[in-house]
């Protein structure tokens, strides 16, 4: 059933017409985006619960509460869509979409095997970084348009944090690109045919994971939505479906950055033991998502100034050093 021609997307193989291929690819990306974050969300419920010695959702769907997030979704749809009287209606309503869409578009370039992908862009990882950076605008729009001081503070914290951690993220990715000699995500995966890049660049991997956590504003970097300080940051005034969009953005972001990290450092879809490639990719995404959830249960929140210091004084110099070392080795070996 699955095409055996490496380097050709199955979607191009199955259908001939340009528009049909386009629609099918878009549909495949959308379906994946709607399913995978739900799985990660359910995993967060259960993993956090067990780490805190409780059961978590047990009723929805009978078996271990598997339908909890579906039930949550149904609940969000029924809730009233409240827009504060002083809010900027248009900006307020557009913000969730601006925050969500970049993470959907990002999956266009994520490969699940050398045939299962939507597009193999020549500039893959660069595209990921460019699209991922748009998400902040949505958060800023949400915080400003809510006409609420806590929302505004949350948005400002989010923007400052995302600007500070974008740099180590890009630098860590750049050193992998230098070693692989290509920007294409499939190219980077294929370049790890003998060993994973986490073995040669363990520091880069750590920098990338820490910066990813900060980009996602996940604990211990969740100052922008610190509930004990500023209620829920930029999302304070949101209800119903729009709030659900922001939640989906968070889980979609976990899946997105876990997949990029596994492609850059853990060999992407490449595996061994004869297990099919897509399963390897899914397993790596799942494992990294688990780590992200695990850290939430483990570490307390950093303070705003500690967070900024950590990025500018620790991560960025380390990432630059990494690039320097990779550059030297590349020149010496190649």
């Amino acid at each position: 059933m699955i095409s055996a021609v490496p380097g050709v997307s199955v979607f191009d193989d199955w259908f001939a017409n340009f528009w049909v291929v386009l629609v099918v690819k878009a549909a495949a990306v959308l379906v994946f985006f709607l399913v995978a974050p739900l799985l990660v969300g359910y995993m967060e419920h259960k993993v956090l619960a067990h780490m805190q010695a409780r059961l978590g959702p047990m009723y929805a769907g009978r078996f271990h509460g598997w339908a909890q997030l579906v039930a949550d979704g149904a609940k969000f749809i029924q809730k009233e869509d409240v827009i504060p009287a002083a809010a900027d209606r248009w900006v307020f309503s557009l913000a969730p979409a601006v925050a969500l869409i970049p993470y959907i578009v990002l999956f266009v370039v994520v490969p699940f095997s050398n045939t299962i992908y939507a597009e193999n862009l020549d500039i893959g990882i660069f595209f990921v970084m460019a699209i991922g950076s748009v998400n902040v605008i949505g958060v800023l729009m949400a915080g400003w348009s809510s006409a609420n001081k806590f929302s505004l503070i949350g948005a400002l914290r989010a923007a400052a944090q995302l600007i500070a951690y974008e740099l180590p993220l890009v630098l860590a990715a750049a050193s992998v690109v230098m070693q692989a000699g290509t920007l294409s995500l499939i190219g980077i995966t294929e370049a790890q045919d003998r060993y994973w890049f986490v073995l040669t660049q363990p520091i880069g991997f750590l920098i990338f994971m820490v910066a990813s956590l900060a980009e996602l504003t996940r604990p211990p970097f969740d100052m922008p939505i610190a509930d004990s300080e500023i209620i829920f940051g930029a999302y304070t005034e949101y209800t119903g479906l729009k709030f659900a969009f922001f939640l989906l953005t968070e889980y979609g972001g976990i899946v997105a950055l876990s997949s990029i990290a596994s492609i850059l450092f853990l060999g992407g879809y490449r595996g061994f033991l004869g297990i099919p490639d897509p399963l390897w990719m899914a397993a790596k995404i799942g494992a990294l998502s688990f780590v992200v959830i695990w850290l939430r249960a483990t570490y307390p929140r950093l303070r705003e100034d500690q967070l900024q210091r950590f990025s500018w004084l620790a991560l960025i110099p380390l990432a630059l050093l990494q690039i320097l070392v990779v550059g030297f080795v590349k020149v010496a070996v190649g």
Binding site: D88, A130, V134, L140, L152
Partner: protein, 166 residues
């Protein structure tokens, strides 16, 4: 018209309307958001010219960094929350400057193509080829620009530092 030309018309129309709204908006944050649309449409034009790398640089640098810094600065200082109006009363001068820049650009571009109808031929350039020419052929201008940016960076740090002695 080819599909590319249709796409260009759509991108150009949306970009122009957004640019017009950008200068007529009474709210600075709205103006910055219209700027996002305009810059994204310019990125789209690069994309239909098959200049993928330039297009995504446009998104990463302009949309993802510069506009975000604009918004950040505006919100940190004086952007009114909600629907308050803000106007600097300089529309006349701004109109003159804008028309002057437009005239200059039209002249320069038309002059570069010898006042004839330019033929557009998108050629697909890989990122590898782009890197080769940037770091082989144009390495001196590249380093000069880097040096300029480094000087600007250090200057900004010096200006914003608190004087330790006082």
């Amino acid at each position: 018209m080819s599909a590319q030309e249709y796409a260009f018309v759509v991108l150009a129309l949306v970009g122009t309307v957004a640019a017009f709204r950008l200068v007529t908006a009474r709210n600075v944050v709205h103006a910055a958001l219209y700027l996002v649309v305009t810059l994204a449409m310019v990125g789209g034009v690069y994309l239909i010219l098959a200049a993928e790398f330039v297009a995504w640089v446009q998104i990463l640098i302009y949309v993802g960094a510069i506009v975000i810094l604009f918004l950040f600065g505006l919100m940190l200082t004086k952007a009114p929350i909600g629907r308050e109006a803000l106007d600097n009363q300089q529309r006349g001068i701004a109109l003159l400057v804008g028309l002057g820049v437009l005239a200059g650009l039209v002249f320069l571009i038309q002059n570069a193509f010898h006042w004839s109808d330019p033929k557009i031929q998108p050629i697909h350039v890989t990122t590898g080829a782009l890197g080769e020419s940037l770091f082989r052929q144009y390495v001196l201008p590249f380093e000069a620009v880097s040096f300029l940016l480094l000087a600007a960076l250090i200057g900004a740090i010096v200006l914003s530092r608190k004087d330790e002695r006082s």
